[in-house]
């Protein structure tokens, strides 16, 4: 059996390298990132240094606690281990080649290799996408987005994935899905960028992306043993509240930081983020109160996260009134997606990666096309209410491309990892709990 395993592993590596090379082969001769000419701004730089730390905090410990509290006690360590490990693994992949693939000029589909191992990044160099801050800061800031996206996917396959399979899948996904899509939408020559898709801080790149990958993982791996028959209540919602709160605070780095400057755009992004989050939290809370009879803690924090997700693509383009609308829509629609839709279709997206991030991301991306106003986002960045209904179609185009690429490549990667390493833990391990079996530890 072992030799076959090794052959298949090598084939898998070769296949993913081939995919990446194909994408970058469409490149013209890669132009080096322009040497710094505009002066670095200390205000912008200070803010972006801070933003990076805030967004990192969103994953560790924000997401770790948010998810950790929601699983059963016997799996809490395995769950937080996933968030922490993603942080470490993606950091390394990012600096080796991820940043280069995502954020340097290359082709409309993938960046070049000019920043392999960050060679060429100096104390003075800048990325043309953010000329007033050092490239090191920009690179780190974008790294934290690359980190949280695969970390979000973990919510879909909680309680049942092998750790080795998880490492393989996350590593490959981050290079084969995250980097290309980040390049499509944000890369200087990315084709979705050129098409005018508006995504300020990652509604498509982060949320729709992770949401659909999560859904694919949930479908490929199947439901947890005992799902829908045995009770699996969250073991400690206090942890989840702490996690959600850290996500909320950190998200100001995510959205306001995506302005890559300390200015009015960042300020407005902060304002609309706060408005949409609070509104969505209330919307979910009231929806649940009406439908189920009690407003729950899990409900209000989920609503807040749904609002954060939906405002993400819109945060640099909409005004406070738009934020209110996005909040109400996200709260109500994501409540339905995480309850009614999930139970009707009977898939086990354990922690609602799809229901909150996939659906919330789509709600936000479409509403960006509706509610974008030029006085916030700048000339040419208008939506339906500002006289440019075409933007809605452009947004739908961006969503479709992202979903199709994400779903296809994620499925391929999932199947590859399943065939070589095996995605799911044994029945015995799943019953007894992942913490002891996978990590040799338990919370007493």
């Amino acid at each position: 059996m072992k030799p076959v395993y090794l052959v298949l592993q090598r084939l898998m590596l070769a296949a993913s390298m081939l995919l990446l090379l194909t994408l970058s082969a469409v490149a013209q001769a890669p132009a080096p990132v322009a040497p710094a000419a505009p002066k670095l701004d200390s205000g912008d730089t200070a803010w972006m240094l801070t933003s990076m730390a805030l967004v990192l905090m969103m994953t560790v410990p924000g997401l770790a606690l948010f998810y950790g509290g929601m699983v059963r006690k016997m799996n809490v360590l395995a769950t937080v281990m996933q968030s922490f490990t993603v942080t470490c693994l993606v950091t390394v992949l990012w600096i080796v080649i991820g940043y280069s693939f995502a954020f340097t000029p290359g082709s409309p589909f993938l960046g070049g290799t000019s920043r392999f191992l960050l060679y060429g990044m100096t104390l003075e160099s800048v990325n043309d996408l953010a000329k007033t801050i050092p490239e090191s800061v920009y690179m780190c800031f974008q790294m934290t987005f690359a980190i949280i996206t695969p970390a979000l996917i973990c919510g879909a396959f909680a309680d049942r994935m092998k750790f080795s399979a998880f490492l393989w899948f996350i590593g490959l996904w981050s290079l084969c899905v995250y980097c290309p899509i980040a390049h499509f939408v944000w890369g200087p020559d990315g084709f979705l960028n050129e098409a005018g898709v508006l995504d300020f801080a990652g509604g498509t790149v982060v949320h729709i992306n992770s949401g659909f990958a999560g859904l694919m993982a949930a479908l490929v791996m199947g439901r947890r043993r005992g799902y829908a028959t045995e009770p699996m209540p969250p073991h400690n919602l206090v942890l989840s509240v702490i996690g959600a709160s850290l996500l909320w605070v950190g998200w100001f780095g995510f959205n306001a930081g995506s302005a890559t400057a300390a200015n009015g755009n960042a300020g407005m992004a902060m304002a609309v983020t706060q408005i949409a989050t609070a509104t969505a939290a209330l919307a979910w809370m009231f929806a649940e109160w009406i439908v189920k009879g009690k407003p729950s803690v899990l409900g209000i924090i989920s609503g807040a996260v749904a609002g954060l997700v939906a405002i993400t693509p819109a945060s640099g383009f909409v005004d406070p009134r738009g934020a209110l609308i996005i909040g109400v829509a996200a709260g109500a629609i994501c409540y339905w997606a995480a309850t009614g839709l999930k139970h009707a279709l009977r898939y086990d997206d354990s922690l609602d990666a799809f229901g909150v991030h996939g659906v919330g991301g789509m709600v936000g991306a479409v509403l960006t096309g509706v509610l974008a106003v030029a006085w916030v986002g700048g000339e040419g960045k208008s939506g339906l209410i500002d006289g440019n209904p075409h933007q809605v179609l452009v947004q739908l185009y961006g969503i479709t491309v992202t979903v199709v690429y994400d779903v296809v490549v994620s499925l391929i990667l999932l199947k590859l990892v399943d065939l070589t390493v095996g995605l799911r833990v044994d029945a015995e391990v799943e019953r007894e709990g992942l913490d002891l079996a996978l990590h040799g530890e338990a919370v007493q």
């Binding site: 699996m232 729950s296 899990l298 309850t339 009614g340």
Partner: protein, 112 residues
């Protein structure tokens, strides 16, 4: 020697403990347990998923004591633990074969 096992509602612990003190009992063991009899459970809802939880939190009070005071102890527990609502609990009386105090090695009545 007898052992009393009493399943009571958790908030009644202080009252039961004081009532037992008054009949001369100074030692007891308490554990957190789950159970149900005729009292209905409750429903918890997490993101639309409803779980019916049959088991309710209770406390088990265990006392080993001389035959002479069993009746008064049982009465003390009954009176202090009762709320007249379903779920008040039950008291069981068991025979004990031997009791030993670990520190001194005393046995029987001297050990309780």
């Amino acid at each position: 020697m007898k052992k009393i096992e009493a399943i009571i509602k958790p908030f009644k612990l202080e009252e039961v403990k004081n009532a037992l003190h008054e009949v001369g009992i100074t030692g007891m063991t308490v554990s957190e347990v789950k159970g149900f009899g005729r009292q209905k459970g409750h429903t918890e809802v997490y993101r639309g998923a409803e779980y019916v939880i049959d088991f309710l939190p209770k406390l088990k009070v265990e006392v080993v004591l001389d035959d002479a005071i069993v009746e008064r102890a049982v009465q003390a527990i009954e009176d202090s633990a009762r709320t007249d609502k379903i779920g008040d609990g039950k008291i069981f009386v068991l025979q004990v074969e031997q009791a030993i105090r670990i520190r001194t090695g005393e046995q029987g009545a001297d050990a309780v």
